[in-house]
């Protein structure tokens, strides 16, 4: 009897250290942030001196036009950036999924942008976008075209940060898609070829559906990242002109350091966290639903036979 009990407890004993580390390293900071979001807390105070204000920070934020604008900019940025990156990244992977000489060198070159520190990426693009000495406007001028106000006009500035982000993060999607493509079962491809599938049919009906699980995870990772991008935009535009590129993470950082409202910054972070959690669940739910549907179809097909 005794040994049975011990046996039952043992796995939990082994799990305990991991659970403890998890609680300290993950739950504590999140709990701290949630607690802080209910406080009117400026950084000159210790947390104990801050006044408890309940949901006031959350309610104030909902009524704050600048926060709503920044929330909208973030959604727009993430949607635009991630869809373009997915299309370009997967497209490149499909094109380059073949035996070309020097492929490994090419692949390394492709993922180079990802390895550069974001601050440096920001600075680099800032110089390139420079109105008079930047390479883009100099080229335009030498071609006899009008220079473009890359960072000094609201819509152009948004486009400029999108371009920089695509440049930096498309390789991430490319490299993951390429790995997925190269691990696809050859039998399925062969069967498709024997059935006379054209190139694009193979892509559409065989390759993409088989890659889907990897693509979903990639999409999710990129999406979460896109919601949190900070440094590149900080260096490129610092949120300007106006609020046209002020994404949420930039606003959070300004709220904490410039406005000195730690409670409000925490509440904003929680809104962002909630949004990301919803997105993640939605995507997993969708994935589940798709899997269930395939399983059902397969079962039905098997029963038909």
């Amino acid at each position: 009897m005794q040994s049975a009990n011990v046996n039952r407890v043992t796995p939990y004993l082994f799990l305990a250290p991991a659970a403890l580390v998890m609680a300290v390293a993950l739950l504590y900071p999140i709990g701290y942030m949630i607690y802080a979001s209910f406080l009117d807390w400026n950084p000159s105070q210790r947390i104990g001196e801050a006044e408890f204000v309940g949901l006031r920070n959350y309610i104030n934020l909902l009524g704050d036009a600048a926060f709503r604008e920044s929330f909208f900019v973030t959604l727009k940025f993430a949607a635009v950036v991630v869809s373009l990156e997915m299309v370009i990244g997967v497209g490149l992977a499909l094109l380059l999924d073949r035996n070309i000489r020097g492929m490994s060198v090419l692949r390394t070159l492709f993922i180079l942008p990802m390895m550069i520190a974001p601050i440096v990426v920001g600075l680099m693009w800032r110089y390139m976008y420079h109105p008079s000495v930047g390479v883009f406007n100099r080229t335009l001028k030498s071609l006899g075209l009008d220079p473009i106000p890359w960072l000094s006009d609201g819509s152009w500035a948004f486009a400029s940060v999108v371009i920089a982000d695509i440049w930096q993060w498309t390789p991430f999607i490319f490299i993951l898609s390429l790995a997925a493509l190269q691990s696809l079962p050859q039998s399925a491809m062969e069967a498709a070829r024997i059935d006379g599938a054209m190139g694009w049919q193979q892509v559409l009906y065989i390759k993409l559906p088989l890659m889907m699980p990897v693509l979903i995870v990639t999409l999710l990772l990129r999406l979460i990242d896109a919601f949190k991008v900070l440094e590149v935009i900080l260096v490129l535009t610092n949120g300007g002109p106006g609020l046209s590129t002020e994404i949420l993470s930039l606003r959070i950082s300004r709220t904490a350091s410039e406005f000195r409202e730690l409670g409000e910054a925490a509440a904003m972070s929680n809104y962002l966290l909630i949004l990301l959690v919803i997105l993640t669940f939605a995507m997993f739910a969708y994935n589940k639903a798709v899997e269930a549907r395939t399983a059902r179809l397969r079962k039905a097909a098997e029963e038909d036979i």
Binding site: N42, S44, P131, S132, L151, G154, P241, G242, S257
Partner: protein, 445 residues
């Protein structure tokens, strides 16, 4: 672009000033503190780089050693905010950005300097506080008087200006001469000249100004607001930023940016200064701290061609006051020795030393010094400009960060998206009132 890098890297340089041998027989006021090591926190800024050059002199004279923690100024502010909440701090003396005065004094984190100046063992009778530039002292050092952040019957001293700045107009003498443009005395002339330059000198902008969204655009707007007769708040804290003077200031800024060098809408101070020193603009109106860079032939294409004039007059004269002050944190470990350092740095001798090394003087007498004027010929003009330095050109209150950012983003919309200035400022006034209301500024009304 060069200084953009220094703004971003925020290098933390810790330099020990040790190594100067303690001389024998330090009698007098410094003797009890000889051998003490002070830790101070200062910004990476030309003035404080100059201070580094004079610190060995202090150690030699007093036997007190100084260890310096130098940070980019916004990083410095963040670090201090944390540091000052500790019960035992690491810093014996800090240099603070002028707008930190409101936060630190409000949170009771700075020593009131009265008890040091009252102490006969510490206070130097030859200090001559009257000689300190009063606009700076009012703006940076004193709190608790008029409107809470200015001097007045109830005010007291929490810091001493050190590395303070005002605004002057830098202009290209050669360009002005070539086209017969007079040096602007009034705002009308300034705006005319700003838009005349691009017409007569193709490819060159009129005036390079900060304008980037956020703090920079707000700073640029406020620079014109005071001389044009405006204020952000009236004496009862009602926002009056959207009155006629406010609209005039917004229009002035828009004119300047529209007639400025290419890409002006995204300029920070460093980029605006770079545009001027590379010959892309004929005028530059900002802090005096940039002058040394313009006169350095290794960094500037316009060295020797620049003239300096007072910030032009609108309905009144009113140049900016800003920069840094030095103070002793409440949680410092060596307050008396820190006071001695503070007093020495801002004494007539220390002020002249730092000025000769390229810093910004804090005293009227330093600006009169013949040696300094010989080395930096523009010093006399700067000394003159200081008489009109306006300590109230922007409010220094805890809610300012938020209002400042709002003015900045809204002004950026005026500059880049064609938002109507009156409408823009009405919005700012409305939001500012809500912020002030929440912070309790209308409790007594």
């Amino acid at each position: 672009m060069l200084s953009l890098k220094s703004v971003l890297t925020g290098t933390a340089v810790s330099v020990s000033m040790a190594g100067v041998a303690l001389a024998d027989g330090h009698g007098g006021p410094y003797a009890p503190y000889a051998g003490t090591t002070l830790v101070i926190n200062v910004p990476a800024h030309p003035h404080y780089n100059a201070m580094m050059k004079v610190l060995p002199e202090f150690t030699k004279e007093t036997g007190i050693e100084v260890e310096v923690d130098q940070l980019q100024y916004l990083k410095m502010r963040e670090k201090q905010t944390l540091e000052l909440t500790k019960s035992e701090g690491d810093y014996d003396m800090i240099a603070y950005v002028v707008f930190s005065k409101a936060d630190y004094v409000f949170a009771d984190q700075l020593e009131n300097l009265a008890r040091f100046f009252m102490n006969p063992k510490l206070a130097d009778p030859a200090y001559d506080a009257e000689d300190l530039i009063d606009g700076y002292v009012a703006n940076i050092g004193v709190a608790g008087g008029f409107k809470g952040y200015l001097p007045g019957a109830t005010g007291s001293l929490f810091g001493i200006p050190y590395g303070s700045e005002t605004s002057v107009l830098a202009y290209r003498k050669d360009i002005f001469e070539k086209h017969g443009i007079d040096v602007p005395q009034h705002y009308d002339q300034l705006l005319d000249a700003a838009c005349k330059v691009p017409e007569v000198e193709p490819g060159m902008g009129g005036m390079a100004s900060r304008a980037a969204s956020g703090h920079q655009a707000s700073h640029a707007f406020l620079l014109h607001l005071a001389p044009l007769g405006g204020r952000v708040f009236d004496d009862k804290w009602e926002p009056i930023i959207n009155n006629e003077a406010g609209v005039a200031a917004a229009n002035a800024l828009k004119t300047i940016v529209d007639c400025g060098p290419e890409g002006s809408q995204t300029f920070g101070p460093a980029e605006a200064a770079a545009a001027f020193s590379q010959g892309q603009a004929a005028m530059f109106m900002d802090s005096i701290a940039f002058a040394a860079g313009f006169e350095d032939p290794s960094k500037s294409k316009v060295a020797g061609k620049v003239g300096y004039a007072l910030h032009p007059e609108g309905v009144r004269r009113g140049s900016q006051t800003g920069g840094f002050g030095i103070a002793i944190p409440k949680n410092a470990q060596n307050k008396e020795a820190a006071f001695l350092l503070m007093q020495w740095l801002t004494s007539k001798k220390g002020d002249l030393l730092v000025a000769m090394a390229g810093g910004n003087p804090s005293r009227f007498s330093t600006y009169q010094d013949a040696g300094l004027n010989e080395k930096y010929p523009y010093s006399a003009t700067f000394g003159e400009a200081l008489k009109y330095a306006d300590p109230d050109w922007r409010p220094i209150i805890p809610t300012w960060g938020k209002i400042n950012a709002d003015i900045g983003t809204t002004m950026s919309q005026v500059l880049t998206e064609g938002l109507d200035p009156q409408e823009a400022l009405n919005g700012v006034a409305e939001r500012a009132r809500a912020i002030m209301d929440e912070a309790g500024y209308y409790t007594w009304q």
